[in-house]
């Protein structure tokens, strides 16, 4: 989709194509449940037969971050868990959304302690906040419908009018807020450092002419 995105002006064809892509994205969201605490149990309640929210909206639980496009953070995020959530978020493939379920994920709730992260939106951009401790399954259904509205209004191939705002931008980089000694995860710089390893050895093997512009 990279080639088509953000290229075309608004006209009849591009808007319908956009609505088709959004319709597909909206009606078949595969959630990835990060059920850390009590909200995780309540999110299971959302899945089964009494409230039956997930399956009816076409959502199928996938446990691998690559195949899922909605990350549901349900429960308290501790500082030991923060790098893991950031890593899972980075592994998800592109049109991805985050739902923060429960006040622990939104703001750290009653746990204002040394080891709790005061809200998951400090490390990942969150689209939908579902308050409650734990939120009742109907609240979760409302959150899903809200997310579908967000997706429906997405401009995929049409030119982006304003800066893309997928919910609140993370105010702080995850690596600054944590204790210095926490488990070090590769940052963007580390990726960039290795980015052109392949290109360099292609050059050595003479497959591509040296000095090609590296984006």
């Amino acid at each position: 989709m990279g080639l088509l995105e953000n290229k075309f002006k608004e006209n009849l064809i591009t808007t319908t194509v956009d609505s088709l892509i959004n319709w597909g994205q909206e009606k078949a969201m595969y959630p990835l449940l990060l059920g850390t605490a009590c909200c995780g149990i309540e999110m299971m309640a959302v899945g089964y037969s009494r409230f039956d929210v997930l399956e009816r909206f076409g959502m199928l639980f996938r446990f691998s971050p690559r195949q899922s496009d909605v990350m549901i953070v349900a429960g308290t995020v501790t500082k030991k868990m923060a790098p893991v959530i950031k890593a899972v978020y980075d592994q998800m493939s592109d049109p991805k959304y985050v739902i923060a379920v429960g006040s622990c994920a939104i703001s750290g709730n009653i746990y204002k302690s040394y080891s709790t992260l005061q809200g998951v939106d400090r490390i990942v951009p969150v689209d939908i906040y579902i308050p409650g401790c734990p939120p009742i399954p109907e609240a979760f259904a409302y959150g899903i419908i809200e997310l579908q509205k967000v997706i429906a209004s997405r401009r995929v191939i049409r030119k982006q009018t304003t800066a893309p705002a997928p919910g609140a931008q993370p105010t702080v980089n995850v690596h600054d807020i944590l204790r210095p000694g926490h488990i070090k995860l590769p940052t963007a710089q580390d990726y960039a450092a290795h980015l052109d390893d392949d290109i360099t050895n292609y050059e050595q093997r003479g497959l591509i002419e040296p000095g090609r512009r590296r984006d």
Partner: protein
């Protein structure tokens, strides 16, 4: 008097090359066009039904679990497979950094093509008769003499896609999934093959169409070959990594098994490949043991329904069986899985083979074999 010569002279009609479905006089161009159109129609039917199988499975399993399946997209959730496809096409295709890129790209294709190719030889109607529209849509794409051999060969090629996926995505979980699936498919292919030989001995031919016609003449092979059928079904389920045997992509242990690193349409290919190979086994079971396109009794109400509908009904029943098993049975452990294959299924298949052979020999000798 018993003489070795009689060994090879079976009472069955002399085996001749199956008459070509279409009279050979038509010039090759029209013949090619007819084959192309048949291929186009049947492949479309196959792919669309596979897509709608994901919908059917989610609905049936949901019903078994006291809830409704997807019903928000389209009237009864009917547009759900289309929504899945559109979403998967829109997803970013992520290639992990330490993945082996070429192998990583080819793996889903390697597992999708054999699954689809298996439908080339399924005879939807009597391969000899004129198909629909006066021959333009023939009942079977290819009426191979070695139908079953082709099927077995394809089902063993499918496992290469899984192993390549597991190896190339550079992830410990998918590696474990790939190792498990290679061990599983190899052992269950053996029992699959041997359980089919019983049918071959009884029908005397490898051509699927002739097998169905023999069943139409005599009784369905499910009754004489009951044990062969049981072994075939179990190893068929194991062959396609379906539920009690779904160790390669066991959600609870290996997160998502071999297709862990695949996103977007490549995961879609794996997802469809699993369903299509499941259908191939179901269609094969319907043809070999339940008389493919032949109606159960030749009396009027049954013969009104055309051949393909019968075949579709039969293997829809097998699909329902798959879903039923998937929602109820827990999963095997790896060593139990191998134990079942080698200690239980293999002896039964061998015994069934030997008994059928002996009965056939005595039958041929006594002359009451038709």
């Amino acid at each position: 008097m018993f003489s070795p010569a009689r060994f090879f002279e079976t009472g069955a009609a002399p085996i001749v090359a199956p008459e070509q479905a279409v009279n050979p006089q038509t010039d090759p161009l029209i013949w090619f066009l007819q084959t192309f159109i048949t291929l186009f129609v049947i492949m479309n039917v196959v792919l669309v039904t596979m897509a709608y199988q994901t919908w059917a499975e989610r609905k049936v399993i949901a019903r078994m679990q006291l809830r409704h399946g997807p019903n928000q997209t389209g009237p009864m959730g009917l547009l759900q497979p289309i929504a899945d496809a559109v979403k998967m096409l829109g997803k970013e295709f992520v290639v992990p950094r330490e993945a082996d890129k070429p192998v990583f790209m080819i793996a889903p294709i390697m597992s999708f093509i054999p699954a689809v190719a298996a439908f080339a030889i399924i005879p939807w109607g009597d391969a000899r008769s004129e198909g629909l529209l006066g021959g333009w849509i023939r009942p079977a794409i290819a009426n191979l003499n070695i139908g079953i051999l082709y099927m077995l060969a394809l089902s063993s090629v499918g496992v290469y896609g899984i192993i390549m996926a597991g190896y190339s995505s550079g992830n410990k979980y998918s590696m474990l999934g790939a190792l498990r699936s290679s061990g599983q498919v190899v052992s269950y292919e053996l029992t699959l093959g041997i359980s089919l030989i019983g049918v071959l001995i009884q029908s005397g031919t490898l051509n699927l169409n002739d097998i169905v016609r023999q069943q139409q003449a005599s009784i369905w092979f499910i009754f004489p070959q009951f044990f062969g059928f049981v072994v075939f079904l179990i190893s068929g389920i194991a062959e396609t990594n379906r539920n009690p045997f779904d160790l390669p992509e066991a959600e609870s242990e290996l997160v998502a098994g071999f297709h862990l690193e695949y996103s977007g349409m490549s995961f879609g290919l794996f997802y469809l490949a699993e369903y299509i190979s499941m259908n191939a086994i179901a269609a094969l079971a319907a043809i070999l043991f339940f008389g493919g396109w032949a109606p159960p009794f030749d009396i009027v109400p049954f013969t009104l329904i055309p051949g393909p509908i019968w075949l579709f009904l039969k293997f829809a029943f097998f699909l329902f069986l798959y879903y039923w098993i998937r929602s109820t049975l827990p999963r095997f452990r790896y060593d139990q899985l191998m134990g079942l294959a080698w200690k239980v299924l293999f002896p039964i298949a061998l015994a069934n083979l030997v008994i059928t052979a002996v009965v056939k020999l005595i039958g041929v000798h006594m002359g009451w074999w038709v």
